[in-house]
Subunit: 407 residues, 2 copies
């Protein structure tokens, strides 16, 4: 934290997040890896809270993820806790990884009076090094004592690794004349790709909703948000999204589309912030594909464009190199016909009918590429399939950050 | 050419390539795009030569590739010509692309007396700009007059784009007591990925062999060589491999494994040279996967490792970051079990049983990573599947080259 300059795409300030009744947080300096900063956060949810979650599908996922997955489907009225450390991912640490998770869960359970099955953990940072979990368990008392409703920004900071800014988002929606609040924090910067967008995300709401309704909603919205972003096509072993609904608003949101819309908006905001903090990112890029033979084909084309190193470097160089977009569509494996493609940069028609558009001038494209936020739109001309993927450019900053991440 | 420093992985010199009877070459300065250098080559093969070829499967492949594909399966005793320009790929240029190919083929056919169906063309360079083919047709006379047996190195230079060194390879094999010669040249540097390894390759031999035997051999060997290299996971719209066998040795090589071995060796040498000239490359990396559930799974894992930007940047930084290898195996989608993986850097056992190996010391790994040529070996521990992929690291050089390729 602080090692790399704040992303030029960062929002000016951290948003002002409202208090969620039934939610308290705390952070602490545990010295897991980073000296002189808060690196562990604890969130406590009141009895009666509903939990839902989405996790990475990596075959080498961490002990924390496996433990969360085993617990997330259980019903309980006991409340819940989430404890997260940065600096060490506890991934690929064999049996020691499971021991670390068990020890942390036991310490939190003992101090909070929760069953261990209601304690969720995440770890983020370097892979393959033993997590010094005793440094975390030694701080559980201090964390429990510090629990307070107004610590979301502090929590967002504590979970950062190579992130250059803390990420938060909020929406309040009125349902039946009463406000329902949603707040979320996220970390994620490199190793970002579906599925699911490589990161940690914690969302809290005072909505009242059963797990059986909340879980499918969360999965559905993840497919439209965090599973539609990519920084570098690499997927982490720790991806975790946890959502806790305290029910303290007293408003049952089941079946209210306005709630799902609001949650969607918080998740999309956080997903975009992760891309905007993509390692070395200098441009935010929306890749829109329409007219594909199917939605799945559209997604394949869009990811091929969004993950292409040649396109990402061209964007970094502000080069309107639409030929590389043609290349990425051609290589994707999904159906395409050279002569039916249409490519637009923003509103500028660049290519059509298998060639550059007669009205297109290179200086238009070059001028457009100077924007900080760009849209590449490819219409495949074959059907109705569509998809949108958000990504960033590939710059010298990415190389610098990742060639010496551990040193 | 000359814009970027010669790759540190380049061979010291261009190999001495023997003359192939029945093959003559010429190059010329046509000014297609690059000023002050030879940018067109012509190869002429004597009557009776056999032609075979392998081409990109991109859905947006160039007019040249489509034309070559239409011609390559035809039998003819008339001989053949190959004409190649650098600087402009003639890809995604609509009807104008087809006109360019037709005009160049017609000019070469007229001057050499060959049917146009025996003239093969390739174009390499920027995508989407009209090929000024008149500059090429204007030089066909000069090319035809300059045809000479000993111009292979000149030809290898004429087809370069961002390449930093010309690529050539040769093997002579004795069959039935008589020598059979094979020579090859290649270009390729960025936009390199299966299938098939993004490049232009021309191989010539004085072997006698029927098309029906030569074509399947070439396809088979491509899968073990050019389809096993990746620089940046991007696939070009122009990939072309053409093989011409003049038969002038008088040795029928059909059914002789020694010939296939020799051809394999020439193709592997050229494929490795392309990786060694990968844009910005400072390390040559062999990714070996064994113990996968199938060969296809092994290839999926190996490509996931070889294409991972996080692994490629770690290699650039000489960081023995084996955790990222675990990540890449986890995300690949092919079968894996965290606790059965074994990872080696060269001969050093790094990780096993789901964690770092007890005997591994970080300084061993760090010291190994300083080598210019590295092997990453992952054993998945599930079956007998295996694959080898060759790649390079991802450095600031790649960003510099590709952020301003057109400027």
């Amino acid at each position: 934290m602080g090692k790399y300059p704040r992303s030029p795409l960062a929002p000016e300030t951290f948003p002002s997040l409202p208090v969620i009744d039934g939610l308290r947080l705390a952070t602490v300096e545990a010295g897991v890896r980073y000296p002189g900063r808060r690196d562990v956060m604890l969130a406590h949810l009141a009895p009666g809270s509903t939990m839902a979650g989405v996790f990475t599908r990596s075959a080498t996922r961490s002990a924390n993820v496996l433990d969360c997955q085993a617990k997330i489907g259980l019903d309980s009225d006991a409340g819940a806790a989430i404890i997260v450390n940065s600096g060490n991912s506890n991934a690929f640490t064999g049996k020691a990884g499971e021991e670390s998770v068990a020890a942390i869960c036991a310490a939190v359970a003992e101090r909070t009076g929760l069953p261990a099955s209601r304690v969720f953990t995440s770890s983020t940072g370097v892979i393959g090094e033993r997590l010094p979990y005793d440094r975390i368990t030694a701080k559980v008392d201090a964390l429990a004592e510090a629990l307070d409703a107004a610590r979301l920004e502090e929590a967002a900071q504590a979970i950062m690794t190579t992130d250059t800014f803390p990420k938060g988002a909020t929406v309040t929606v009125e349902i039946g004349g009463k406000p329902v609040k949603i707040v979320g924090i996220a970390k994620g910067s490199g190793m970002i790709a579906p599925d699911m967008a490589t990161m940690l995300v914690y969302i809290f709401t005072d909505a009242k909703i059963a797990r059986a309704d909340l879980q499918p909603m969360l999965t559905r919205l993840t497919d439209k948000t965090f599973n539609c972003i990519t920084v570098d096509s690499d997927t982490s072993t720790s991806d975790t999204l946890l959502l806790g609904a305290t029910g303290t608003s007293g408003v049952n949101v089941t079946g209210h589309a306005a709630f799902e819309d609001a949650l969607h908006s918080v998740m999309l905001d956080l997903a975009h912030q992760v891309v905007k903090d993509g390692e070395g990112a200098s441009k935010f890029v929306t890749v829109r594909v329409t007219g594909a033979a199917s939605d799945a084909d559209a997604r394949t084309h869009a990811l091929s464009i969004a993950n292409s190193p040649l396109i990402k470097t061209a964007i970094a160089g502000e080069d309107p190199n639409w030929g590389r977009v043609v290349m990425a569509i051609g290589k994707s494996g999904a159906a395409a016909d050279r002569d039916r493609l249409t490519i637009r940069f923003g509103d500028i028609l660049v290519a059509e009918n298998g060639w550059v558009s007669p009205g297109y001038r290179e200086d238009q494209g070059a001028s457009y590429m100077k924007n900080q936020s760009l849209t590449i739109h490819a219409d495949i001309g074959l059907g109705q399939g569509q998809a949108t993927i958000w990504t960033c450019d590939l710059t010298h900053g990415y190389i610098s950050i990742n060639a010496d991440y551990r040193s």
